[in-house]
């Protein structure tokens, strides 16, 4: 009887995804998903709680506690890393379970291959995710692409050879090779492509769970795994198309490593916080474009303060959010939501691009590639064809960043030297705070 609870659990997961489609119902959706998970767990125990020893419950308790602590301590700017870590854990779990199943000699051949698959994918996800996190934290640089490509080829060949020749005792080798494969694959990919990698690995961890479901014959694992698999794939494709690159190009690696002539034809017009305050106070409509720099500077509260100041002067403020601004999809939205900015004021690229020409001042805060007009004009540029926010159409543009150095794509941004653009060279947080202070003097 309890075993059939998974039916309800599946329905809850699906309903959760459905309710996730609106900010106002998404919180409830998360609770439904939690409910689905709890039911699935109860259904798995099937009232045989006594079959489990103290260690088992202790491990669950301690791990759950750890999960709570970590998730409550983490800063919103570190979400990409956190998702990466959890993802690695999920993959590792599937890998471990599949390994144990493989040692069960009664497995039929089809289950055996599924278990091998689950283990390989799980372990690959585990090591790949950890490397991705290290890269996100900037602790690794891209290695020489060709060498590592050859290495990965050899590793892959090794796995296959072992699979064909010596099935019985090769599981440990496969684990090691999968680990290496995950490391060597991800190490090749540029740091800012890590969000794509993490979404992709997330999809894989779902697929590994699904495969585990086929082995232990649990339909809820299959369903949940399939849902996660679909989610990861969609986010991956979405990021790729927002960068106008194929998933193959991203996972092949090497992007952002070619050196490009990045000299500017003339000097930018630099400005001061006071001047920006004056300029803003004459505007009727302001659009703020946040980017990765806002996250780095933890400048979201300062953004909120500036927004309040502008609104108190009856100046209209909107936020234009590029799908890949920052370091994960929806990253900017979360940071802005954290400081209570209404999601109704956040606009997507499609919704706001036609409005820039009627905007008085656009304030670009630590964003770079997502507002680079070369994506529209320069066919040779690595970002050519990527849909960008057309801020250069606005009457005036103000950019806050620390220097003229390029963004992730490593290319110069002619927006910075345009006639209607002024640069404020400062840390985003300090810069914004200074602007707010200057307002009090205006």
């Amino acid at each position: 009887m309890t075993e059939s609870l998974y039916l309800i659990s599946a329905v809850l997961f699906i309903l959760a995804l459905k309710l996730f489609s609106r900010p106002s119902t998404a919180f409830r959706a998360n609770n439904l998903a939690i409910g689905g998970m709890v039911l699935a767990i109860i259904s798995a125990f099937n009232l045989k709680f006594a079959d489990y020893d103290g260690v088992f419950y202790l491990v669950i308790l301690v791990s759950a506690g750890l999960g709570v602590v970590v998730s409550n301590r983490v800063q919103m700017t570190q979400m990409p890393e956190l998702v990466g870590i959890f993802n690695g854990l999920g993959g590792g779990a599937s890998g471990a379970i599949a390994y144990v199943e493989l040692s069960n000699s009664t497995l039929v051949l089809s289950d055996f291959s599924v278990a091998i698959f689950s283990m390989t994918v799980g372990v690959f996800t585990f090591s790949g995710s950890l490397i991705a996190v290290a890269k996100l934290r900037g602790k690794l640089n891209s290695f020489n692409a060709t060498v590592i490509n050859i290495l990965s080829g050899v590793l892959l060949g090794g796995v296959i050879a072992l699979l064909i020749t010596k099935i019985d005792y090769s599981t440990e080798y496969i684990i090691i090779l999968s680990l290496l494969l995950g490391i060597s694959r991800v190490v090749l990919i540029g740091g800012a492509d890590m969000p794509v990698v993490i979404a992709f690995l997330n999809s894989l961890s779902g697929i590994a769970a699904m495969a585990a479901g086929f082995i232990v014959n649990s339909i809820i694992l299959i369903i949940a795994g399939a849902l996660v698999g679909a989610s990861g794939i969609i986010l991956t494709l979405l990021m790729c198309s927002a960068m106008n690159r194929t998933i193959y190009q991203v996972l092949k690696g090497g992007f952002g490593t070619t050196k490009i002539n990045n000299e500017y034809a003339k000097d930018p017009i630099s400005t001061s916080a006071e001047d920006i305050a004056i300029q803003l106070s004459y505007a009727e409509s302001v659009v703020i474009v946040p980017g990765y720099g806002m996250a780095v500077a933890q400048a979201q509260s300062a953004v909120k303060e500036l927004t309040n100041t502008l609104k108190s002067k009856n100046i209209g403020v909107k936020f234009a959010i590029h799908p890949v601004a920052g370091r994960m999809p929806g990253h900017m939205n979360v940071l802005l939501a954290e400081v209570d900015i209404d999601y109704e004021d956040m606009f997507t690229l499609e919704d706001i691009n036609s409005e820039f020409s009627a905007t008085d001042v656009v304030l670009v805060i630590g964003a770079n590639d997502v507002v680079n007009p070369l994506a529209r004009t320069d066919e040779d540029s690595p970002i050519y064809g990527m849909p960008i926010l057309d801020v250069d159409m606005a009457k005036q543009v103000v950019v806050i960043k620390r220097s003229m150095s390029p963004g992730y794509a490593g290319i110069a941004n002619p927006l910075f030297i345009e006639e209607n653009t002024k640069m404020l060279f400062a840390d985003a947080k300090e810069g914004l705070e200074n602007i707010v202070k200057s307002f009090e003097l205006v």
Partner: protein, 95 residues
């Protein structure tokens, strides 16, 4: 191919399809919590751990490995849902 296996395949296909349809409709604003939430769901492997644990209690190595899997999956689930809740709370406030 047994009937139950065919049904399982069908359920897999339908679940993938449902996932694809529903997730395509989720707006960009919610992509970060979507990622962390679906991530939490992938900790569902915990179920597999629960199902096989009673079979391996006598083998200390296998038992340890299952426990590692269980621990990883639990952190993934609890941490993932909890941080997703934290994020979504921020969006809820706005209503």
């Amino acid at each position: 191919m047994t009937e139950i296996f065919l049904y399982t395949l069908l359920i897999t296909a339908m679940a993938s399809f449902i996932g694809y349809e529903l997730i395509s409709k989720i707006p960009q604003t919610l992509h970060t919590p979507l990622m962390s939430g679906s991530n939490a769901i992938s900790g569902i492997t915990l179920i597999a751990g629960i199902l096989i644990y009673p079979n391996v209690v006598d083998d200390i190595l296998l038992k340890t490995i299952v426990l590692i899997g269980v621990s990883f999956a639990t952190m993934n689930i609890v941490g993932g849902f909890s941080v997703t809740g934290r994020i979504l709370e921020m969006f809820k406030k706005n209503d």
